[in-house]
Amino acid sequence: MTQLIDIFASIGLWSAVLRIATPLILGTLGALLCERSGVLNLGIEGIMTFGAMIGWLSVYHGADLWTGLLIAAIAGGLFGVLHSFLTVTLGLSQHVSGLGVTLFASSFSYYVFRMVVPVANTPPTIVPFQPLDIPVLSSLPFFGPAFFTQTAPTYLAIIIALLLAYIIFRTPMGLAIRMTGENPHAAEAQGVNPMVIRYGAVIAGSALMGAGGAFLTLAAFDSFFPTMMQGRGWICIALVVFASWRPGRALFGALLFAFFEAFQLRMQTMLGGAVPYQLFLMTPYILSIVALALMARRARVPQALMQPYRRGER
């Protein structure tokens, strides 16, 4: 019991929560933006992998960290163009197109990575983002080192979550996005072009996914290796449902999820040996499934999600 209290009282746990949450926040917001406009983007797993790879590779070849992050976001956006072409212009099955984008983006990342970086026992590393102390707040006892000495992209991710909530619920553009996701025919009647909105939302959302992937290689770790994404993208898709398509709740969901993750990592060392470590590694996936089962019926799904829009066709 005292050991449990020790875990909760440790600064390491709480600072890990924000670090683990960052890629999930960005990925979930990206998926949420796509889905609000009516497009399910299952390309997320591959797009995040590609972002992680290209961001790392750019920095490895001399770009600075922010440029690396930007390149990852742009690359994500390009995959967004591909996904929108398949699902919006051609109106193909969003499930299959998304899986196709994931398969292509992840195998393409591995190919490019292997082409440039030959096989080695220890993968090459870069100098990642360093913690950034927020003046005044970071000198608070306990809370300072736990919450206010994160890397810059973490703060950025939280700001983006709040900004996205504002855009979606408080601006005309947000209204147009929501309307396209609910009823594209009505949106068109109001003078909104659903095609343009969907393209925009999917490209911007995919850019967020790319940046989320890049956080892993540019801040959380310092190297790239295939299979590092470990289903984080799929967890983001589950978090969107858990968040009931609201950015604020997505932020909360990602933090809650990251808390469980950080907690199980510490339980793993505490109970090391007594319980197989694989049981702990399973928890994120099982938690996501449980969250889906709890929320799927209660959540308000955008009504036109997964329905292609073809002008003049019902």
Binding site: L42, L90, S97, S107, Y110, V241, I286, L292, A293, R311
Partner: protein, 349 residues
């Protein structure tokens, strides 16, 4: 520019679409090979030679195609009913695990002729049961089965990892995490002597024909197609939707579990966490390239296996990452999607 739905699909287009899709995917991959600084045509020539150049190469390609046919069928039967089972990878692993456990602990003493069918059924049942989880979540909680079946893939590999590190760990494996081997009697007979090709390949082909007949000649085949095309319409016409989906899920999960069982009994003899280099995911491409036709699945699985086996040899001699095979296969899924669109719509100005 606008799209107009085709009144009827010309047969030539249906046959040409996958071919054009594959050729365009190969062309795009060619650019990537050129970027890696290798002569493109020679690379493709070496892929072909690596996959079909010798008796051994051919048998290796057919061996690799076997699990791909089965996972391709698993995806094809599920997708036809719009049941998005993306969990073939996990079902394959659970099938393999069940076979390794039953083969090494329970049934090891039985003669091969009894043991092999029992083990194959065990594997299929394990895959089936694992597929019932996402199905139950969909029917009971209306959770999209895509995400749950995907997430369960990770769980399945971790279950395998846990057991081959624990109760099933073979102490004779020099510390490597791998399961006890199944008995020698349980290994599938070879089709060609001194190669790895086993009768699993024959089983896969027979199953693809059987499934073709189930889909085109039985009530269940018609019901599963109706459930996919228009669920409310199907219910109105008297199709028991839940029960149909249950049967489809069992068939799909069973095929994927069988793929795992056959990999263990035909090739490895034991289970590890790298048993499958993504057979489950590649099965989705195999099914889509075949336009969900079970007979064509055999051909598209052969194409996929050719890429994987051929790229192994080509990569060693030309210094191009083997991932080129995965890239080409994924690209052919994307080009096939565009092709399918073209076979359904015509472009009008």
């Amino acid at each position: 520019m606008r799209f107009e739905r085709r009144e009827h699909r010309p047969l030539s287009l249906l046959i040409l679409t996958p071919l054009i899709a594959v050729v365009s995917a190969l062309a795009i991959s060619g650019i990537l090979i050129a970027l890696a600084g290798a002569p493109v045509l020679e690379a493709y020539w070496r892929i072909l030679a690596g996959a079909f150049g010798s008796r051994l190469a051919v048998s290796e390609t057919l061996t690799r195609a076997t699990p791909l046919i089965l996972t391709g069928l698993a995806a094809a039967v599920a997708f036809r009913a719009r049941l998005w089972n993306i969990g073939a990878e996990g079902q394959l692993y659970l099938g393999a695990l069940a076979v390794a456990a039953a083969g090494s602990m329970l049934l090891g003493g039985l003669p091969g002729i009894v043991q092999i069918p029992l083990l194959l059924v065990t594997g299929a049942v394990a895959g089936m049961l694992f597929m019932l989880i996402p199905l139950w979540l969909r029917l009971r909680f209306s959770v999209d089965e895509v995400v749950t079946s995907l997430l369960l893939n990770f769980v399945a590999v971790l279950i395998v990892s846990m057991l081959i590190d624990g109760v099933l760990k073979d102490p004779m494996a020099f510390g490597w995490p791998q399961s006890y081997p199944v008995a020698d009697d349980a290994l599938l007979p070879k089709l060609i002597a001194r190669s790895r090709l086993h009768i699993g390949f024959g089983i896969a082909i027979v199953l693809s024909i059987v499934i073709y007949f189930i889909q085109s000649r039985t009530v269940f085949g018609m019901q599963s197609r109706a459930a996919g095309l228009n669920p409310p319409g199907a219910v109105f016409a008297g199709v028991p939707l839940g029960r149909t989906l249950l049967k489809v899920a069992c068939l799909s999960g069973g095929l994927a579990g069988l793929a795992g069982a056959i990999e263990v009994l035909g090739v490895k003899g034991y289970v590890t966490t790298d048993l499958s280099p993504g057979f489950g995911y590649a099965g989705i491409v195999v099914a889509m390239l075949a336009n969900l036709n079970p007979i064509v699945v055999v051909l598209t699985a052969l194409f996929t296996a050719t890429m994987f086996v051929g790229a192994d040899g080509m990569s060693r001699s030309m210094g191009i990452p083997t991932y080129i095979a995965d890239v080409t296969v994924a690209l052919s899924l994307l080009t096939m999607l565009v092709g399918l669109f073209h076979s359904q719509y015509r472009i009008r100005r």
